[in-house]
């Protein structure tokens, strides 16, 4: 390593290479985390249930989402993105997933929460299949890291159904 510039370049290159290695090991350390999240969603009210002018069914509902997702956070977690999706089956599609609500949890302190809200996004069907439909509400989460691999998983809550007639 001959001159000043030579040594500076060598130092910076080696330092950045080692930093990349440290980030890789940090991401790998996330695999040692075994999360144990829990969640509960109650549908408080079906606000209205109508057939839209275009011919599609639409529902508006109010739900109470409570969850404890603190075990998902590690030292390498930047934020956790969660969303609630309604899943059901129709004659045309074996699986329909409609996202109703989502949020970003920026820190572990905010991961144990409850929220009383109407659906943020419209629950619209492809057709008129929603009358009396049984559906699942699934809480998905994406654990977004500071560096490395993102983990995604979900909890499926079953047993919800829509009214038989439009209101």
């Amino acid at each position: 390593m001959h001159s000043f510039g030579y040594r500076l370049n060598g130092l910076l290159t080696f330092a950045v290479t080692i930093l990349a290695l440290m980030c890789a090991i940090t991401s790998l350390s996330d695999n040692f985390n075994t999360p144990s999240p829990s969640a509960e969603i109650k549908i408080m009210n079906i606000n209205w249930f109508q057939k839209q002018p275009q011919g599609h069914d639409e529902v508006s509902l109010t739900m109470n989402v409570s969850a404890d997702l603190q075990s998902l956070f590690t030292w390498n977690t930047k934020q956790v993105f969660i969303f609630v999706a309604a899943e059901y089956e129709t004659r045309k599609n074996s699986l329909n997933q409609v996202s109703l609500w989502d949020a970003i949890i920026p820190a572990k302190e905010h991961a144990k929460f409850w929220i009383h809200t109407s659906n943020k996004y419209r629950f619209v069907d492809q057709g008129n299949n929603l009358r009396g439909k049984k559906f699942n509400l699934t809480l998905h989460w994406h654990v977004m890291p500071k560096t490395g691999k993102m983990f995604a998983d979900k909890i499926v809550l079953t047993g919800y159904s829509l009214p038989e007639e439009y209101r």
Partner: protein, 145 residues
């Protein structure tokens, strides 16, 4: 400060001291380069320090549960390593090569190319005549047989 004490102080600090050169009593300057031993030492120090700081930073971050702590410790380590290994500190110049003074070199003839003819070919030898100290490593003699 007398010239004698200045010289002894400088040789203590690792500056190459000779009668011909009048050295300023200052921090490392670009006038001084590292010698070969010093370069090797600088590279070794750099690699070891960076690895040690990387491990320390990771352990600190993991134990404290703080990614920011890991990055800060590592950044501090990189800066410290840079301060130690990049400038031409005097302790990197403890084995300087004693090149011959130009006036002395003129007293010795230039390298001879001796051509001795043989039956099967000719042999050329080049002798280095510009080194005063035979204990220092010399370049290999190039012989074409």
């Amino acid at each position: 400060m007398s010239y004698f004490t200045q010289n002894s102080l400088l040789s203590f600090l690792g500056y190459p001291v000779s009668l011909q050169t009048f050295l300023p009593l200052s921090a490392p300057s670009l006038h001084f380069t590292m010698d070969w031993q010093g370069q090797k030492l600088a590279e070794q120090i750099m690699q070891i320090m960076l690895l040690v700081f990387a491990v320390t930073a990771f352990v600190a971050g993991y134990v404290l549960g703080s990614f920011q702590m890991m990055v800060l410790v590592y950044a501090g380590g990189v800066t410290l390593t840079g301060l130690i290994t990049i400038p031409n500190w005097p302790f990197f110049n403890r084995h300087p090569l004693n090149w011959l003074d130009p006036s002395e070199a003129e007293k010795h003839p230039k390298p001879q190319v001796t051509v001795s003819s043989k039956k099967k070919g000719f042999k050329r030898t080049i002798e280095p005549a510009h080194r005063l100290d035979p204990s220092l490593p010399t370049a290999n003699l190039v012989t074409l047989a």
